[in-house]
């Protein structure tokens, strides 16, 4: 192969194309696919509900408490982010721990909600399809919350290794985005079920 030598050429500048952090971008795409997943289930719910033989569901009262927990966990997540931005690592740890605690309480609350469903004779199988949906939707959402908790735990461990601070926020930002998304997803499911019993 020949070696080209082009000395002191004046050439036009090639512009850097628009771009953002690839990892954050990938996270947004992942959340899009989760939206499609839950979109499919809730559309299936609506289609089925329009059919004959649909038994209206009664939502467990526990769902209200759980929704408050989810909102609170988002508040503590914002607190964590602001603390990290100010390099207040002590507060950051407390806020992340609080978020994780609230997340776990949410899961425990969901478990209690299942108990309420059983008490109301709304079983996964053997009763109406509407009750099967009522079991499945919080369950698959709960699985996503577990993934969010794992993400939170990773960030939490990294704070102890001084990897999360005002100069290194990307992981925390992604975790916060995902966590708010999961909270929002629950509120969507809850309001959806309230409006379409």
């Amino acid at each position: 192969m020949s070696v080209d030598i082009k000395e002191f050429k004046i050439i036009e500048e090639a512009k850097k194309p628009l771009s953002m952090n690839p990892k954050k971008f990938a996270l947004w795409l992942f959340m899009m696919s989760v939206v499609m997943l839950f979109g499919a289930w809730t559309s299936a719910y609506l289609v089925k509900r329009a059919d004959t033989g649909w038994a209206e569901i009664i939502l467990p009262a526990q769902f209200w408490t759980n929704s408050v927990l989810v909102v609170l966990s988002s508040v503590t997540m914002i607190w964590a982010y602001l603390a990290a931005k100010r390099d207040n690592i002590q507060q950051l740890k407390i806020a992340l721990a609080a978020t994780m605690f609230l997340g776990i309480s949410f899961l425990v609350g969901q478990y209690m909600a299942y108990g309420e469903m059983v008490a109301l004779k709304q079983h996964l199988t053997g009763s109406n399809v509407s009750h099967s949906f009522l079991w499945i939707l919080p369950a698959v959402h709960g699985l996503h919350i577990v993934s969010g908790l794992v993400f939170l735990a990773i960030v939490f461990i990294n704070t102890f290794m001084f990897k999360v601070h005002s100069k290194s926020l990307i992981q925390l930002e992604m975790c916060a985005t995902y966590w708010h998304f999961l909270g929002g997803l629950w509120l969507y499911l809850f309001i959806f079920l309230l409006l379409n019993p």
Binding site: E12, A26, A40, S132
Partner: protein, 627 residues
Amino acid sequence: MATTHTHTNIDTHHHDDHDHEHHEGNFWTNYIFCQDHKVIAKQFLITGIFWALFGGILSVIFRLQLGFPEMSLEWLRPLLGGWITPEGKIDAEFYLALVTMHGTIMVFFVLTAGLSGTFSNFLIPLQIGARDMASGFMNMLSYWFFFLSSVVMLSSFFIETGPASGGWTVYPPLSALPQAMHGSGLGMTLWLVAMALFIVSSLLGGINYITTIINMRTRGMSFTRMPLTIWAFFFTAIIGVLSFPVLFAAALLLIFDRSFGTSFFLSDIYIGGEALANVGGSPILFQHLFWFLGHPEVYIVLLPALGISSEIIATNSRKPIFGYKAMIGSMLFIAILSFIVWAHHMFVTGMNPFLGSIFMLLTLIIAVPSAVKIFNYVTTLWKGNIRFTSAMLFSIGLVSFFLTGGITGIFLGNSAIDIQLHDTYFVVAHFHLVMGSASFFGMMAGVYHWFPKFFGRMMNEKLGYVHFWLTFVGVYMVFFPMHYIGIAGFPRRYYSWTNFETFEGFTDLNTLVSVAAILTLSAQFIFLFNFFYSIYRGRKASANPWKSTTLEWTTPRNPGHGNWPGEIPAVYRWPYDYSKPGAKDDFIPQTIPFSETQESNLPHENELIKLETSNGDGAIVVEGSKH
């Protein structure tokens, strides 16, 4: 290190056979759990070829049954064992398993993973000028999830009850009730597990492709300078990320119906006179969810092939692609439409005829962007300086199949005519031409065209021609007669027609189809020989064997990890500057600035130079070397 000083563009690296980066790692990290996009692409390609051969053999086995109903298949007993009945025939249920697995394997494992997985992985970083994918780790996971899925799917052939047999669409209740048939037992469970793994693999891949295309382009690679291959992979990945989760949702509900006793898709079913406990479900709901993926899936399969052929046809016609922006626009339009036409697969499920006519209208509109694409292919070829390479032949073959198969789509998309034609061989002929063969030809074209970049050697052109002509003629001989068989009313998926007086005719035509299918499959062995022989013994390729403009041909003959030994080249022009009037050569690579091609610049391109040079502090230039 972005230095904006005048810069001597001395190429300090030898553009040798090998770049001189140090290869760290061992066999496992270099070839097995490798995170390099080129190796992952090859893994997808080889696995895809394995599955294509496997799926092809399945089809020949059931074509033997259809074309030669009286023939003794005793000689297959060593291979199929108990699935050959004592009378020497294929077991009727196993026949259904063959059809099901042929469909599943070809649609998902060959034309989704084998096509997108191979060429998206290989070409995206090389053509947009990136060192690798956005996340090499996710990319590796994507392959290994696919591999795991392959193993699970393959293992279902080695269980007593056989693989899933309810059709590749796995409609309940057949697929939901293990007692319905042998294949609905463990085979169906394995099918669902394999598909769940496959969806994870597709999502990991798709997210990576989109992220890489948007965020990792080299300097100057604006959206309107991207090759059409990249645009096609981009739309394909978006469709995948939006539609595969819906299949996952349907599959999960089906798993609950099968294993946990829910009734999402089941209602009022009697088996042996006994009513099942399941009430309140709707099998039609599954069809809606399935086809919401299923129809976009058709374009997941087809779009990459269309992108590949756009690139190859422009390169080998030595002409700019006709209607670059119209090509992008039509792909975008097809991608959008693909999400709102799914119910045309369900015209006869008892849906409201008014709803049917809406879906009919939307379906027929797809003919518009498709026609734009065909028109652009033909006008690109028109008066071109055509080089009939193997890749070019396969691309032209694709255009032919896309047209003949697409035209029958206009019949099938019509909700009234569909009453007669649905579930007949007319449908089989239609989708095998427009989606199966067209995409397969796109894949073959891609392999022939980028083989020099994959392995640094050329494939044998003569064998390529033989492969092309046998396959091209073979495919038409297989699928053209099927239209007649279909119009005559022959239903799909039937094991045997000889028991029905109505279907006694056409035996000879079915025999012809089967003979052609065997010939077509045999022709693929020419390709296999050519492929594997050329990897080791092929003629060594030059750096840019097709005199192409795109970035992948600026890499060394065997690009190492990171693709370019030095700086990543910047891009100054669109990828289709072929036979530009006034230019020295009949192609100008994307890396050549306009200031170096004063003789061929158009007025607005000269403007671009001025604009760019007034932008910085006088003489401007690309980044200094990093070394």
